[in-house]
Protein backbone atom coordinates (compact mmCIF):
# COMPACT_ATOMS: atom_id res chain seq x y z
CA UNK A 1 0.00 0.00 0.00
CA UNK A 2 1.21 3.48 -0.75
CA UNK A 3 2.25 5.62 2.19
CA UNK A 4 1.30 8.91 0.62
CA UNK A 5 -2.11 10.50 0.78
CA UNK A 6 -3.88 13.12 -1.31
CA UNK A 7 -3.23 16.74 -0.48
CA UNK A 8 -5.69 18.03 2.10
CA UNK A 9 -8.70 19.99 0.90
CA UNK A 10 -9.18 21.42 4.37
CA UNK A 11 -7.72 24.91 4.65
CA UNK A 12 -5.39 26.07 7.39
CA UNK A 13 -8.21 28.28 8.64
CA UNK A 14 -10.44 25.26 9.23
CA UNK A 15 -7.60 23.37 10.85
CA UNK A 16 -6.91 26.28 13.21
CA UNK A 17 -10.58 26.59 14.15
CA UNK A 18 -10.78 22.87 14.90
CA UNK A 19 -7.64 23.02 17.03
CA UNK A 20 -9.17 25.90 18.95
CA UNK A 21 -12.25 23.77 19.66
CA UNK A 22 -10.53 20.48 20.50
CA UNK A 23 -6.89 21.21 21.19
CA UNK A 24 -4.15 19.90 18.93
CA UNK A 25 -4.06 16.45 20.56
CA UNK A 26 -7.51 15.66 19.24
CA UNK A 27 -7.09 16.87 15.67
CA UNK A 28 -5.20 14.15 13.80
CA UNK A 29 -3.56 14.93 10.49
CA UNK A 30 -0.88 12.28 10.03
CA UNK A 31 -1.13 9.68 7.29
CA UNK A 32 -1.51 6.68 9.61
CA UNK A 33 -4.46 8.11 11.52
CA UNK A 34 -6.18 9.09 8.30
CA UNK A 35 -5.58 5.81 6.44
CA UNK A 36 -6.91 3.90 9.44
CA UNK A 37 -10.26 5.56 8.79
CA UNK A 38 -10.62 5.14 5.02
CA UNK A 39 -12.68 2.00 4.94
CA UNK A 40 -14.97 -0.49 6.66
CA UNK A 41 -14.40 -4.26 6.99
CA UNK A 42 -16.26 -5.10 3.76
CA UNK A 43 -13.76 -5.98 1.01
CA UNK A 44 -12.76 -3.28 -1.46
CA UNK A 45 -9.93 -3.01 -4.01
CA UNK A 46 -6.78 -2.18 -2.09
CA UNK A 47 -5.43 0.09 -4.82
CA UNK A 48 -8.44 2.38 -4.40
CA UNK A 49 -8.22 2.90 -0.64
CA UNK A 50 -6.30 6.12 -1.18
CA UNK A 51 -9.35 7.66 -2.90
CA UNK A 52 -11.13 7.75 0.45
CA UNK A 53 -8.51 9.07 2.85
CA UNK A 54 -10.04 11.82 5.00
CA UNK A 55 -8.27 15.16 5.17
CA UNK A 56 -8.18 14.99 8.93
CA UNK A 57 -9.67 13.17 11.90
CA UNK A 58 -11.11 14.81 14.99
CA UNK A 59 -11.77 13.12 18.31
CA UNK A 60 -14.23 15.22 20.30
CA UNK A 61 -14.97 14.45 23.92
CA UNK A 62 -18.48 15.85 24.35
CA UNK A 63 -21.70 16.72 22.58
CA UNK A 64 -20.78 20.39 22.59
CA UNK A 65 -17.41 19.68 20.99
CA UNK A 66 -19.10 17.63 18.26
CA UNK A 67 -21.55 20.49 17.70
CA UNK A 68 -18.68 22.98 17.41
CA UNK A 69 -16.86 20.78 14.90
CA UNK A 70 -20.01 20.48 12.81
CA UNK A 71 -20.56 24.25 12.95
CA UNK A 72 -17.03 24.84 11.68
CA UNK A 73 -17.55 22.31 8.88
CA UNK A 74 -20.90 23.76 7.91
CA UNK A 75 -19.53 27.29 7.89
CA UNK A 76 -16.68 26.27 5.56
CA UNK A 77 -18.71 23.70 3.56
CA UNK A 78 -16.37 20.84 4.47
CA UNK A 79 -17.71 17.25 4.40
CA UNK A 80 -18.14 15.58 7.78
CA UNK A 81 -18.31 11.81 8.27
CA UNK A 82 -19.17 10.31 11.68
CA UNK A 83 -17.18 7.17 12.48
CA UNK A 84 -18.54 5.10 15.35
CA UNK A 85 -16.28 2.06 15.30
CA UNK A 86 -16.25 1.73 11.51
CA UNK A 87 -17.50 -1.86 11.76
CA UNK A 88 -20.45 -1.43 9.40
CA UNK A 89 -20.59 -3.39 6.16
CA UNK A 90 -22.16 -0.89 3.78
CA UNK A 91 -19.49 1.84 3.63
CA UNK A 92 -21.43 4.18 5.93
CA UNK A 93 -18.21 5.38 7.63
CA UNK A 94 -16.21 5.69 4.41
CA UNK A 95 -15.46 9.34 3.56
CA UNK A 96 -16.63 9.56 -0.06
CA UNK A 97 -15.51 13.19 -0.37
CA UNK A 98 -12.73 13.05 2.22
CA UNK A 99 -13.12 16.05 4.56
CA UNK A 100 -13.37 15.61 8.35
CA UNK A 101 -13.94 12.27 10.05
CA UNK A 102 -15.46 12.57 13.52
CA UNK A 103 -14.24 9.58 15.51
CA UNK A 104 -16.44 9.27 18.62
CA UNK A 105 -14.44 6.75 20.59
CA UNK A 106 -13.37 9.25 23.27
CA UNK A 107 -17.03 9.63 24.20
CA UNK A 108 -17.19 6.29 25.98
CA UNK A 109 -18.32 7.29 29.46
CA UNK A 110 -21.14 5.66 31.39
CA UNK A 111 -22.85 8.74 32.77
CA UNK A 112 -25.63 7.07 34.71
CA UNK A 113 -27.01 3.66 35.58
CA UNK A 114 -30.59 4.10 36.76
CA UNK A 115 -31.32 0.92 38.69
CA UNK A 116 -34.89 1.89 39.49
CA UNK A 117 -35.99 2.60 35.92
CA UNK A 118 -33.58 0.10 34.38
CA UNK A 119 -31.81 2.47 32.02
CA UNK A 120 -28.29 3.68 31.48
CA UNK A 121 -27.00 6.79 29.77
CA UNK A 122 -23.72 6.52 27.90
CA UNK A 123 -21.50 8.29 25.41
CA UNK A 124 -22.00 6.66 22.02
CA UNK A 125 -18.32 5.74 21.80
CA UNK A 126 -18.77 2.90 24.26
CA UNK A 127 -18.69 -0.72 23.12
CA UNK A 128 -21.54 -3.00 24.22
CA UNK A 129 -19.26 -5.70 25.60
CA UNK A 130 -17.42 -3.20 27.79
CA UNK A 131 -20.73 -1.70 28.91
CA UNK A 132 -22.07 -5.13 29.83
CA UNK A 133 -18.99 -5.89 31.91
CA UNK A 134 -19.94 -2.92 34.09
CA UNK A 135 -23.66 -3.71 34.07
CA UNK A 136 -22.98 -7.30 35.16
CA UNK A 137 -22.07 -6.00 38.61
CA UNK A 138 -25.72 -4.94 38.89
CA UNK A 139 -26.96 -8.21 37.35
CA UNK A 140 -28.12 -6.24 34.30
CA UNK A 141 -27.44 -6.47 30.58
CA UNK A 142 -27.85 -4.34 27.47
CA UNK A 143 -28.71 -7.10 24.98
CA UNK A 144 -27.76 -5.53 21.64
CA UNK A 145 -25.79 -8.34 20.04
CA UNK A 146 -24.39 -7.88 16.54
CA UNK A 147 -21.78 -10.16 14.95
CA UNK A 148 -19.34 -7.35 15.77
CA UNK A 149 -20.31 -7.37 19.45
CA UNK A 150 -16.77 -7.09 20.88
CA UNK A 151 -15.75 -4.21 18.59
CA UNK A 152 -18.78 -2.15 17.50
CA UNK A 153 -20.03 0.94 19.34
CA UNK A 154 -23.42 2.14 20.53
CA UNK A 155 -23.20 5.08 18.12
CA UNK A 156 -22.61 2.82 15.15
CA UNK A 157 -25.63 0.78 16.11
CA UNK A 158 -27.73 3.97 16.10
CA UNK A 159 -26.34 5.14 12.75
CA UNK A 160 -27.07 1.73 11.25
CA UNK A 161 -30.28 0.90 13.14
CA UNK A 162 -28.63 -2.44 13.66
CA UNK A 163 -30.00 -5.95 13.90
CA UNK A 164 -29.34 -8.07 16.96
CA UNK A 165 -28.69 -11.81 17.05
CA UNK A 166 -31.09 -12.15 19.98
CA UNK A 167 -33.51 -9.48 18.78
CA UNK A 168 -36.37 -11.98 18.61
CA UNK A 169 -36.37 -11.91 22.42
CA UNK A 170 -35.09 -8.46 23.38
CA UNK A 171 -35.66 -6.32 20.29
CA UNK A 172 -33.15 -4.71 17.99
CA UNK A 173 -31.23 -1.45 18.39
CA UNK A 174 -34.29 0.63 17.50
CA UNK A 175 -36.14 -0.97 20.41
CA UNK A 176 -33.26 -0.86 22.89
CA UNK A 177 -32.20 2.77 22.45
CA UNK A 178 -34.74 4.94 24.26
CA UNK A 179 -33.39 8.37 23.30
CA UNK A 180 -30.22 10.16 22.26
CA UNK A 181 -28.63 13.57 21.86
CA UNK A 182 -28.14 14.38 18.21
CA UNK A 183 -26.10 17.06 16.45
CA UNK A 184 -27.81 18.23 13.26
CA UNK A 185 -25.74 19.27 10.19
CA UNK A 186 -26.03 22.91 11.21
CA UNK A 187 -24.56 22.20 14.64
CA UNK A 188 -27.84 22.44 16.51
CA UNK A 189 -28.26 19.85 19.25
CA UNK A 190 -31.59 18.08 19.72
CA UNK A 191 -32.79 15.20 21.88
CA UNK A 192 -34.82 12.53 20.06
CA UNK A 193 -36.49 9.49 21.50
CA UNK A 194 -39.68 7.80 22.54
CA UNK A 195 -40.97 10.87 24.36
CA UNK A 196 -39.01 11.71 27.51
CA UNK A 197 -35.36 10.68 27.83
CA UNK A 198 -36.27 7.46 29.63
CA UNK A 199 -39.72 6.60 28.31
CA UNK A 200 -40.32 3.71 25.94
CA UNK A 201 -43.62 4.73 24.37
CA UNK A 202 -45.00 8.08 23.41
CA UNK A 203 -47.79 9.22 21.10
CA UNK A 204 -46.78 12.84 21.24
CA UNK A 205 -45.90 14.51 17.94
CA UNK A 206 -43.94 12.98 15.08
CA UNK A 207 -41.93 9.91 16.08
CA UNK A 208 -38.50 11.14 15.09
CA UNK A 209 -36.36 8.45 16.71
CA UNK A 210 -36.49 6.13 13.73
CA UNK A 211 -35.67 8.97 11.33
CA UNK A 212 -32.43 9.63 13.15
CA UNK A 213 -31.46 5.94 13.28
CA UNK A 214 -30.15 4.05 10.27
CA UNK A 215 -29.30 7.16 8.27
CA UNK A 216 -25.63 6.12 8.00
CA UNK A 217 -24.43 9.49 9.23
CA UNK A 218 -26.21 11.49 6.53
CA UNK A 219 -28.38 13.48 8.94
CA UNK A 220 -26.02 14.18 11.83
CA UNK A 221 -24.13 12.71 14.75
CA UNK A 222 -25.54 10.91 17.79
CA UNK A 223 -23.45 11.69 20.87
CA UNK A 224 -25.11 10.43 24.06
CA UNK A 225 -27.75 7.74 24.39
CA UNK A 226 -30.12 6.35 27.00
CA UNK A 227 -30.56 2.59 26.76
CA UNK A 228 -33.07 0.05 28.02
CA UNK A 229 -31.67 -2.58 30.40
CA UNK A 230 -32.73 -6.14 31.20
CA UNK A 231 -31.88 -8.57 33.98
CA UNK A 232 -28.80 -10.58 33.06
CA UNK A 233 -30.27 -13.95 32.01
CA UNK A 234 -30.08 -16.70 34.57
CA UNK A 235 -29.89 -19.30 31.84
CA UNK A 236 -29.04 -19.85 28.19
CA UNK A 237 -30.08 -22.74 25.95
CA UNK A 238 -28.45 -22.99 22.52
CA UNK A 239 -29.06 -26.31 20.75
CA UNK A 240 -27.72 -27.06 17.25
CA UNK A 241 -29.41 -29.73 15.16
CA UNK A 242 -28.39 -31.53 11.96
CA UNK A 243 -30.63 -32.47 9.04
CA UNK A 244 -30.13 -34.60 5.96
CA UNK A 245 -31.74 -32.02 3.68
CA UNK A 246 -32.46 -28.32 3.51
CA UNK A 247 -36.24 -28.63 3.27
CA UNK A 248 -36.55 -30.38 6.63
CA UNK A 249 -34.37 -27.78 8.29
CA UNK A 250 -36.33 -25.02 6.61
CA UNK A 251 -39.62 -26.33 8.02
CA UNK A 252 -38.10 -26.84 11.45
CA UNK A 253 -36.76 -23.32 11.87
CA UNK A 254 -40.21 -21.89 11.26
CA UNK A 255 -41.86 -24.42 13.57
CA UNK A 256 -39.51 -23.25 16.32
CA UNK A 257 -40.38 -19.61 15.63
CA UNK A 258 -44.10 -20.42 15.60
CA UNK A 259 -43.98 -22.20 18.94
CA UNK A 260 -44.58 -19.08 21.00
CA UNK A 261 -41.89 -19.89 23.54
CA UNK A 262 -41.47 -16.73 25.61
CA UNK A 263 -37.73 -17.14 26.13
CA UNK A 264 -37.10 -17.83 22.42
CA UNK A 265 -34.36 -15.38 21.40
CA UNK A 266 -33.78 -16.54 17.84
CA UNK A 267 -33.21 -19.39 15.42
CA UNK A 268 -30.77 -19.76 12.57
CA UNK A 269 -30.97 -21.94 9.47
CA UNK A 270 -27.77 -23.01 7.67
CA UNK A 271 -28.16 -24.10 4.06
CA UNK A 272 -26.29 -26.91 2.30
CA UNK A 273 -23.66 -24.59 0.83
CA UNK A 274 -22.98 -23.18 4.30
CA UNK A 275 -22.51 -26.67 5.72
CA UNK A 276 -20.19 -27.55 2.83
CA UNK A 277 -18.17 -24.43 3.60
CA UNK A 278 -17.98 -25.22 7.32
CA UNK A 279 -16.93 -28.77 6.52
CA UNK A 280 -13.73 -27.40 4.99
CA UNK A 281 -12.50 -25.41 7.96
CA UNK A 282 -14.69 -25.47 11.05
CA UNK A 283 -13.67 -27.83 13.82
CA UNK A 284 -17.28 -28.47 14.79
CA UNK A 285 -18.32 -29.59 11.32
CA UNK A 286 -15.24 -31.25 9.80
CA UNK A 287 -15.96 -34.54 11.61
CA UNK A 288 -19.70 -34.57 10.88
CA UNK A 289 -20.99 -37.49 8.80
CA UNK A 290 -21.59 -36.83 5.12
CA UNK A 291 -25.36 -36.98 5.42
CA UNK A 292 -25.39 -33.76 7.47
CA UNK A 293 -26.56 -31.32 4.81
CA UNK A 294 -28.29 -28.54 6.70
CA UNK A 295 -28.42 -27.19 10.24
CA UNK A 296 -30.67 -25.26 12.58
CA UNK A 297 -29.79 -23.68 15.87
CA UNK A 298 -32.04 -21.97 18.33
CA UNK A 299 -31.35 -19.96 21.44
CA UNK A 300 -33.33 -19.04 24.52
CA UNK A 301 -32.45 -16.68 27.36
CA UNK A 302 -34.23 -15.84 30.59
CA UNK A 303 -35.01 -17.12 34.05
CA UNK A 304 -33.78 -20.68 34.51
CA UNK A 305 -37.15 -22.28 35.17
CA UNK A 306 -38.64 -20.59 32.12
CA UNK A 307 -35.70 -21.46 29.87
CA UNK A 308 -35.86 -25.10 30.98
CA UNK A 309 -39.55 -25.31 30.15
CA UNK A 310 -39.03 -23.63 26.79
CA UNK A 311 -36.00 -25.81 26.05
CA UNK A 312 -38.10 -28.93 26.39
CA UNK A 313 -40.65 -27.62 23.94
CA UNK A 314 -38.02 -26.48 21.40
CA UNK A 315 -36.16 -29.80 21.62
CA UNK A 316 -39.38 -31.76 21.15
CA UNK A 317 -40.30 -29.74 18.05
CA UNK A 318 -36.88 -30.32 16.51
CA UNK A 319 -36.93 -34.03 17.31
CA UNK A 320 -40.40 -34.39 15.80
CA UNK A 321 -39.09 -32.78 12.61
CA UNK A 322 -36.33 -35.36 12.25
CA UNK A 323 -33.48 -33.35 13.72
CA UNK A 324 -30.34 -34.93 15.19
CA UNK A 325 -28.96 -33.01 18.18
CA UNK A 326 -25.25 -32.25 17.68
CA UNK A 327 -24.39 -32.45 21.37
CA UNK A 328 -23.57 -29.94 24.06
CA UNK A 329 -19.96 -29.28 23.11
CA UNK A 330 -20.68 -28.24 19.52
CA UNK A 331 -23.89 -26.44 20.41
CA UNK A 332 -22.45 -24.38 23.21
CA UNK A 333 -19.18 -23.68 21.42
CA UNK A 334 -20.74 -22.60 18.17
CA UNK A 335 -23.30 -20.37 19.84
CA UNK A 336 -20.65 -18.58 21.88
CA UNK A 337 -18.66 -17.99 18.67
CA UNK A 338 -21.67 -16.31 17.03
CA UNK A 339 -21.24 -13.23 19.24
CA UNK A 340 -17.86 -12.56 17.67
CA UNK A 341 -17.82 -13.31 13.97
CA UNK A 342 -15.43 -10.48 13.11
CA UNK A 343 -12.60 -12.28 14.87
CA UNK A 344 -12.69 -15.32 12.60
CA UNK A 345 -9.54 -15.85 10.53
CA UNK A 346 -10.85 -16.07 7.00
CA UNK A 347 -9.71 -18.00 4.03
CA UNK A 348 -11.36 -19.45 0.97
CA UNK A 349 -10.56 -21.70 -1.95
CA UNK A 350 -9.68 -21.15 -5.55
CA UNK A 351 -11.46 -23.28 -8.10
CA UNK A 352 -8.41 -25.56 -7.96
CA UNK A 353 -9.16 -25.95 -4.23
CA UNK A 354 -6.06 -24.10 -3.07
CA UNK A 355 -6.35 -22.06 0.14
CA UNK A 356 -6.18 -18.28 -0.27
CA UNK A 357 -6.64 -15.47 2.24
CA UNK A 358 -10.08 -13.98 1.70
CA UNK A 359 -12.13 -11.25 3.32
CA UNK A 360 -15.77 -11.65 4.24
CA UNK A 361 -18.42 -9.91 2.18
CA UNK A 362 -21.78 -10.38 3.83
CA UNK A 363 -24.84 -9.54 1.75
CA UNK A 364 -28.01 -9.34 3.79
CA UNK A 365 -31.71 -8.81 3.17
CA UNK A 366 -35.00 -9.03 5.04
CA UNK A 367 -37.08 -11.83 3.50
CA UNK A 368 -40.34 -13.51 4.47
CA UNK A 369 -40.06 -17.19 5.36
CA UNK A 370 -42.14 -18.28 2.35
CA UNK A 371 -39.65 -16.66 -0.03
CA UNK A 372 -36.45 -18.04 1.47
CA UNK A 373 -36.02 -21.07 -0.88
CA UNK A 374 -36.45 -18.91 -3.96
CA UNK A 375 -34.04 -16.23 -2.77
CA UNK A 376 -31.54 -18.90 -1.77
CA UNK A 377 -31.51 -20.46 -5.22
CA UNK A 378 -31.23 -17.18 -7.08
CA UNK A 379 -28.49 -15.74 -4.84
CA UNK A 380 -26.33 -18.85 -5.18
CA UNK A 381 -26.75 -18.69 -8.96
CA UNK A 382 -25.54 -15.06 -8.98
CA UNK A 383 -22.46 -15.89 -6.92
CA UNK A 384 -21.75 -19.00 -9.03
CA UNK A 385 -21.71 -16.85 -12.16
CA UNK A 386 -19.11 -14.44 -10.79
CA UNK A 387 -16.99 -17.30 -9.43
CA UNK A 388 -16.96 -18.86 -12.88
CA UNK A 389 -15.40 -15.65 -14.20
CA UNK A 390 -13.02 -14.85 -11.36
CA UNK A 391 -11.15 -17.03 -8.90
CA UNK A 392 -11.18 -14.21 -6.37
CA UNK A 393 -14.76 -15.02 -5.27
CA UNK A 394 -15.93 -17.98 -3.21
CA UNK A 395 -19.47 -18.92 -2.12
CA UNK A 396 -19.45 -19.47 1.66
CA UNK A 397 -23.13 -20.36 1.88
CA UNK A 398 -26.16 -18.81 3.50
CA UNK A 399 -27.66 -18.21 6.94
CA UNK A 400 -31.27 -17.29 7.69
CA UNK A 401 -31.88 -15.69 11.11
CA UNK A 402 -35.28 -14.98 12.66
CA UNK A 403 -35.79 -11.25 13.04
CA UNK A 404 -38.84 -11.54 15.27
CA UNK A 405 -40.41 -14.05 17.62
CA UNK A 406 -43.22 -14.89 15.21
CA UNK A 407 -41.23 -16.07 12.17
CA UNK A 408 -42.54 -13.26 9.99
CA UNK A 409 -39.21 -12.54 8.33
CA UNK A 410 -35.59 -13.59 8.34
CA UNK A 411 -32.31 -11.77 8.05
CA UNK A 412 -31.13 -13.61 4.97
CA UNK A 413 -27.39 -13.61 4.41
CA UNK A 414 -25.07 -14.93 1.74
CA UNK A 415 -21.41 -14.90 2.70
CA UNK A 416 -18.96 -14.41 -0.12
CA UNK A 417 -15.22 -14.77 0.31
CA UNK A 418 -13.31 -12.17 -1.69
CA UNK A 419 -9.58 -12.30 -2.32
CA UNK A 420 -9.23 -8.61 -1.64
CA UNK A 421 -5.59 -8.22 -2.64
CA UNK A 422 -6.42 -9.53 -6.11
CA UNK A 423 -9.45 -7.34 -6.70
CA UNK A 424 -9.02 -5.48 -9.99
CA UNK A 425 -11.32 -2.74 -11.22
CA UNK A 426 -12.90 -5.25 -13.61
CA UNK A 427 -13.59 -7.70 -10.79
CA UNK A 428 -15.00 -4.95 -8.60
CA UNK A 429 -17.38 -3.81 -11.34
CA UNK A 430 -18.55 -7.37 -11.80
CA UNK A 431 -19.11 -7.66 -8.04
CA UNK A 432 -21.06 -4.40 -7.94
CA UNK A 433 -23.29 -5.78 -10.69
CA UNK A 434 -23.73 -8.98 -8.71
CA UNK A 435 -24.65 -6.97 -5.61
CA UNK A 436 -27.25 -5.10 -7.64
CA UNK A 437 -28.68 -8.43 -8.83
CA UNK A 438 -28.72 -9.77 -5.26
CA UNK A 439 -30.64 -6.71 -4.07
CA UNK A 440 -33.01 -7.04 -7.02
CA UNK A 441 -33.87 -10.61 -6.03
CA UNK A 442 -34.66 -9.44 -2.49
CA UNK A 443 -37.03 -6.78 -3.79
CA UNK A 444 -38.67 -9.14 -6.28
CA UNK A 445 -39.37 -11.43 -3.33
CA UNK A 446 -41.15 -8.61 -1.52
CA UNK A 447 -38.33 -8.05 0.95
CA UNK A 448 -35.94 -5.31 1.92
CA UNK A 449 -32.39 -4.94 0.57
CA UNK A 450 -31.04 -5.00 4.11
CA UNK A 451 -32.25 -6.11 7.54
CA UNK A 452 -29.03 -5.21 9.24
CA UNK A 453 -26.18 -3.46 7.44
CA UNK A 454 -27.96 -0.67 5.57
CA UNK A 455 -27.91 -0.39 1.82
CA UNK A 456 -25.65 2.45 0.71
CA UNK A 457 -22.80 0.45 -0.82
CA UNK A 458 -22.22 0.43 -4.56
CA UNK A 459 -24.68 -1.76 -6.46
CA UNK A 460 -27.40 -2.20 -3.84
CA UNK A 461 -27.78 1.56 -3.38
CA UNK A 462 -29.14 1.93 -6.92
CA UNK A 463 -32.26 0.02 -5.90
CA UNK A 464 -33.07 1.93 -2.71
CA UNK A 465 -35.47 4.32 -4.51
CA UNK A 466 -37.27 1.27 -5.90
CA UNK A 467 -37.60 -0.25 -2.44
CA UNK A 468 -38.81 2.94 -0.79
CA UNK A 469 -41.11 4.10 -3.59
CA UNK A 470 -42.41 7.60 -2.89
CA UNK A 471 -40.69 7.43 0.47
CA UNK A 472 -37.38 8.08 -1.26
CA UNK A 473 -38.59 11.50 -2.41
CA UNK A 474 -39.42 12.27 1.21
CA UNK A 475 -35.89 11.18 2.12
CA UNK A 476 -34.49 13.70 -0.36
CA UNK A 477 -36.63 16.49 1.09
CA UNK A 478 -35.64 15.65 4.65
CA UNK A 479 -31.96 15.57 3.70
CA UNK A 480 -32.09 18.95 2.01
CA UNK A 481 -34.12 20.54 4.80
CA UNK A 482 -31.80 19.38 7.57
CA UNK A 483 -28.50 19.61 5.71
CA UNK A 484 -28.80 22.63 3.41
CA UNK A 485 -25.12 22.57 2.46
CA UNK A 486 -24.81 18.79 2.01
CA UNK A 487 -21.90 18.51 4.42
CA UNK A 488 -23.05 15.49 6.39
CA UNK A 489 -21.57 12.31 4.90
CA UNK A 490 -22.19 13.50 1.31
CA UNK A 491 -22.36 10.99 -1.50
CA UNK A 492 -24.27 8.32 0.43
CA UNK A 493 -27.63 6.83 -0.51
CA UNK A 494 -27.73 8.89 -3.74
CA UNK A 495 -28.78 11.88 -1.66
CA UNK A 496 -26.75 14.31 -3.77
CA UNK A 497 -29.71 14.40 -6.12
CA UNK A 498 -31.54 16.41 -3.45
CA UNK A 499 -29.24 19.27 -4.39
CA UNK A 500 -29.45 19.00 -8.18
CA UNK A 501 -26.86 17.81 -10.68
CA UNK A 502 -24.47 20.66 -9.90
CA UNK A 503 -25.07 20.65 -6.18
CA UNK A 504 -26.62 24.12 -6.45
CA UNK A 505 -29.68 23.32 -4.44
CA UNK A 506 -32.00 22.79 -7.41
CA UNK A 507 -32.82 19.27 -6.33
CA UNK A 508 -34.78 16.72 -8.26
CA UNK A 509 -36.55 13.70 -6.93
CA UNK A 510 -36.25 10.16 -8.17
CA UNK A 511 -39.33 10.82 -10.26
CA UNK A 512 -37.82 13.95 -11.79
CA UNK A 513 -39.95 16.45 -9.90
CA UNK A 514 -38.47 19.39 -8.07
CA UNK A 515 -37.74 18.55 -4.46
CA UNK A 516 -38.28 21.86 -2.72
Amino acid sequence: MTTTAPVSQVSDVVLEELVQVLGSDHVLTNVTDRYARTRVPAPFPVHRWRDYVPDLVVMPGSTEEVAEVVRVANRHRVPVVPRDGGTGLTDGARPERRGIVIDVKRMDQIEEIDLQNRTCTVGVGINMLKLNEVLAAHNLIYPDDPASYPCSLVGGRIGTSGWSLIGSRFGHTRDLVLSFDFVLPTGRVIRVGDGGPKTSKSSSGYQLKHLFMGHQGTLGVATRATLKLFPKPEAEFSPFWAFTDFDSAYRTVQALAHAGVATFAGAVLFDEEKVAYLRRDDEAYIPQPGDVRSLVCSVAYGNEDEVRAGAKRLMRIARDHGARYLGDEISEGDWAARHDRYATPLHGRTRANQVVPMSWHCEDAAINWTQLPRVRQEWHRIVARIRERFDAFDDWGMFFYTSASTGVDYLTEIDVGIWEQQLSDEMWEAWVEAKRDIAGVALDAGGSISACHGSCREGEVDLVPTELGGGYDVMLKVKRALDPNNIMNPGKYGLDRAYGPSGDGAGTSETGKEVS
Binding site: L129, N132, E133, A136, I141, K232, P233, E234, A235, E236, F237, S238, P239, R279, R280, D281, E283, I286, P287, Y301, E304, V307, R308, A311, K312, M315, R316, R319, Y325, G327, D328, S331, E332, G333, A336, A337, H339, D340, H347, R349, T350, A352, N353, Q354, V355, V356, P357
Partner: protein, 88 residues
Protein backbone atom coordinates in the same frame (compact mmCIF):
# COMPACT_ATOMS: atom_id res chain seq x y z
CA UNK B 1 17.50 -24.22 22.77
CA UNK B 2 18.27 -26.83 20.15
CA UNK B 3 16.70 -29.52 22.32
CA UNK B 4 13.52 -27.45 22.79
CA UNK B 5 13.26 -26.58 19.13
CA UNK B 6 13.57 -30.14 17.87
CA UNK B 7 11.14 -31.55 20.34
CA UNK B 8 8.54 -28.84 20.25
CA UNK B 9 8.55 -27.96 16.56
CA UNK B 10 7.98 -31.51 15.38
CA UNK B 11 4.23 -32.10 15.33
CA UNK B 12 2.67 -35.51 15.95
CA UNK B 13 1.92 -37.64 12.93
CA UNK B 14 -1.09 -36.34 11.02
CA UNK B 15 -4.20 -38.39 10.42
CA UNK B 16 -6.20 -37.57 7.30
CA UNK B 17 -9.70 -36.88 8.64
CA UNK B 18 -11.45 -35.78 5.44
CA UNK B 19 -10.32 -34.94 1.93
CA UNK B 20 -9.54 -31.38 3.12
CA UNK B 21 -8.56 -31.74 6.78
CA UNK B 22 -6.02 -33.49 8.96
CA UNK B 23 -5.78 -34.02 12.72
CA UNK B 24 -2.66 -34.15 14.90
CA UNK B 25 -4.31 -33.82 18.31
CA UNK B 26 -7.63 -35.20 19.51
CA UNK B 27 -10.52 -33.02 18.29
CA UNK B 28 -8.11 -30.50 16.76
CA UNK B 29 -8.36 -30.15 13.00
CA UNK B 30 -6.13 -28.42 10.49
CA UNK B 31 -6.50 -27.63 6.82
CA UNK B 32 -4.65 -30.23 4.78
CA UNK B 33 -1.21 -28.69 4.13
CA UNK B 34 -1.47 -30.04 0.58
CA UNK B 35 -4.08 -27.34 -0.04
CA UNK B 36 -1.70 -24.62 1.09
CA UNK B 37 1.19 -24.81 -1.33
CA UNK B 38 0.46 -22.10 -3.92
CA UNK B 39 -0.82 -19.02 -2.13
CA UNK B 40 -0.27 -19.60 1.59
CA UNK B 41 3.17 -20.36 2.96
CA UNK B 42 3.63 -23.04 5.59
CA UNK B 43 5.37 -22.01 8.79
CA UNK B 44 7.18 -23.90 11.49
CA UNK B 45 4.82 -23.83 14.41
CA UNK B 46 5.64 -24.97 17.95
CA UNK B 47 3.36 -27.68 19.27
CA UNK B 48 2.78 -25.80 22.48
CA UNK B 49 1.52 -22.81 20.50
CA UNK B 50 -1.05 -24.92 18.66
CA UNK B 51 -2.33 -26.19 21.99
CA UNK B 52 -2.21 -22.72 23.52
CA UNK B 53 -4.41 -21.36 20.71
CA UNK B 54 -6.92 -24.18 21.17
CA UNK B 55 -7.01 -23.64 24.94
CA UNK B 56 -7.38 -19.90 24.49
CA UNK B 57 -10.28 -20.44 22.14
CA UNK B 58 -12.02 -22.63 24.70
CA UNK B 59 -11.35 -20.04 27.41
CA UNK B 60 -12.82 -17.34 25.18
CA UNK B 61 -15.97 -19.33 24.44
CA UNK B 62 -16.48 -20.10 28.13
CA UNK B 63 -15.98 -16.43 28.93
CA UNK B 64 -18.64 -15.54 26.37
CA UNK B 65 -21.16 -17.93 27.98
CA UNK B 66 -20.48 -16.44 31.41
CA UNK B 67 -20.82 -12.98 29.93
CA UNK B 68 -24.33 -13.59 28.59
CA UNK B 69 -25.90 -15.82 31.23
CA UNK B 70 -25.22 -17.39 34.61
CA UNK B 71 -25.97 -20.97 33.50
CA UNK B 72 -26.05 -22.96 30.29
CA UNK B 73 -28.80 -25.56 30.02
CA UNK B 74 -27.54 -28.89 28.66
CA UNK B 75 -29.37 -30.02 25.53
CA UNK B 76 -28.30 -33.59 26.25
CA UNK B 77 -30.13 -33.43 29.59
CA UNK B 78 -33.23 -31.98 27.95
CA UNK B 79 -33.19 -34.71 25.32
CA UNK B 80 -32.83 -37.40 28.00
CA UNK B 81 -35.81 -35.98 29.89
CA UNK B 82 -37.88 -36.14 26.70
CA UNK B 83 -36.84 -39.73 26.10
CA UNK B 84 -37.88 -40.64 29.63
CA UNK B 85 -41.39 -39.27 29.17
CA UNK B 86 -44.15 -41.88 29.06
CA UNK B 87 -44.96 -42.94 25.51
CA UNK B 88 -41.76 -41.57 23.99
Amino acid sequence: MVYRYDEQATPPEAEQVTDVAISRYEDVYEVDPGLMVEHVNQQTFPNWDTLRIIDSRHDHLQWMHDHWAHTVISGEEVLRSLDEEPGS
